[in-house]
């Protein structure tokens, strides 16, 4: 018996799959977390790309805790949803693509932090470099891609 089949037979998996309110509650949490993560990180990305120039660039990092909150909610709820049907999710190509996009999005956010939010010495006003703009643009592609893949898991192999 494979690992995912074993996971599917754990009490936790049965609890999520069979308790009346558990699955919809976790799904709701996953949706709210998505809105927080995409809202906060998406706004930072857009600001780096040059939208809303009246927002002070360095101060947009105040939104990062909100993005982290959304990420944490979704890592938690997503893991439990995965455990409830591990064989199906682990064999879905769309789900694997979603996870790949989330990893890329995470690495990308770390790069963005290094290239934008590490304030230069002497308080020189920061304008995002071309590289930073590329990072912000691909970040939007990765995270919206993850949303699209997540929704399509139910309809694709």
């Amino acid at each position: 018996m494979g690992f995912f089949a074993w996971l599917d037979d754990t009490p936790l998996s049965h609890w999520v799959a069979e308790t009346l309110w558990a699955y919809p509650t976790l799904e709701t949490m996953h949706t709210v977390g998505m809105a927080l993560l995409i809202g906060a990180l998406g706004l930072i990305d857009l600001r780096v790309l040059g939208f809303k120039p009246e927002l002070p660039l360095l101060e947009t990092q105040r939104l990062l805790p909100l993005a982290w909150l959304g990420f944490t909610l979704n890592a938690f709820s997503g893991t439990l949803l995965f455990v409830s049907d591990a064989v199906m999710f682990s064999s879905s190509y769309t789900f694997r693509l979603k996870i790949a996009l989330i990893i890329l999005g995470g690495l990308n956010a770390a790069l963005l932090g290094r290239s934008v939010f590490q304030a230069p010495l002497g308080g020189v006003p920061v304008r995002p470099s071309r590289g930073a703009k590329w990072i912000a643009g691909t970040s939007l592609v990765f995270w919206f891609g993850a949303v699209i893949c997540g929704r399509l898991v139910a309809y694709t192999p």
Partner: protein, 158 residues
């Protein structure tokens, strides 16, 4: 009312959604993208009014409303199409009607917020001093949109 739902379900739009394989998942996915813009944007504005991330100017955060409107329009269109497709089941779904009720309340609340911005005797936006009643609107907005998302997700289970 049921006659209307049956009629809606047999309109060309509903038939197209039923017969063309990718339209339904496409509408759902677009509804989620719209949700991220709408709810993500509103939560940022509400939290900022309540004092989160104070170093970001209140005025420019309230200036995110066009993104929220884009999300709202995307979701009104995709949600409308999804409703037409499944009118006879959505039309009798309690979670759906709760969701619509919360949306109307959230809309009225947003209107009250907007009026407080426009009719303010003192420019509290520029001064970054939202009065207590505006903070109440922001809190209500946050809670009401959470309720909209929650009842929306529960539609499949009730």
């Amino acid at each position: 009312m049921m006659d209307l739902f049956v009629w809606l379900e047999h309109t060309p739009i509903a038939n197209t959604i039923r017969t063309v394989r990718w339209i339904y998942p496409g509408l759902e996915t677009t509804h989620y993208i719209g949700l991220s813009l709408l709810v993500g944007g509103i939560m940022l504005i509400d939290l900022r009014v309540l004092g989160f991330a104070r170093t970001l100017p209140l005025k420019s955060m309230i200036g995110l409303l066009p993104f929220v409107w884009v999300g709202f329009i995307i979701n009104a269109l995709t949600g409308g199409a999804l409703f037409i497709y499944g009118a006879t089941s959505f039309g009798v779904n309690h979670a759906f009607w709760l969701k619509m009720t919360f949306m109307v309340l959230a809309g009225l609340n947003a209107l009250a917020f907007d009026l407080s911005v426009r009719r303010a005797k003192v420019d509290w936006v520029a001064a970054d001093l939202p009065p207590p009643h505006v903070k109440t609107f922001a809190t209500l907005s946050f809670v009401l949109w959470l309720c909209v998302v929650t009842t929306g997700r529960w539609m499949a289970y009730i």
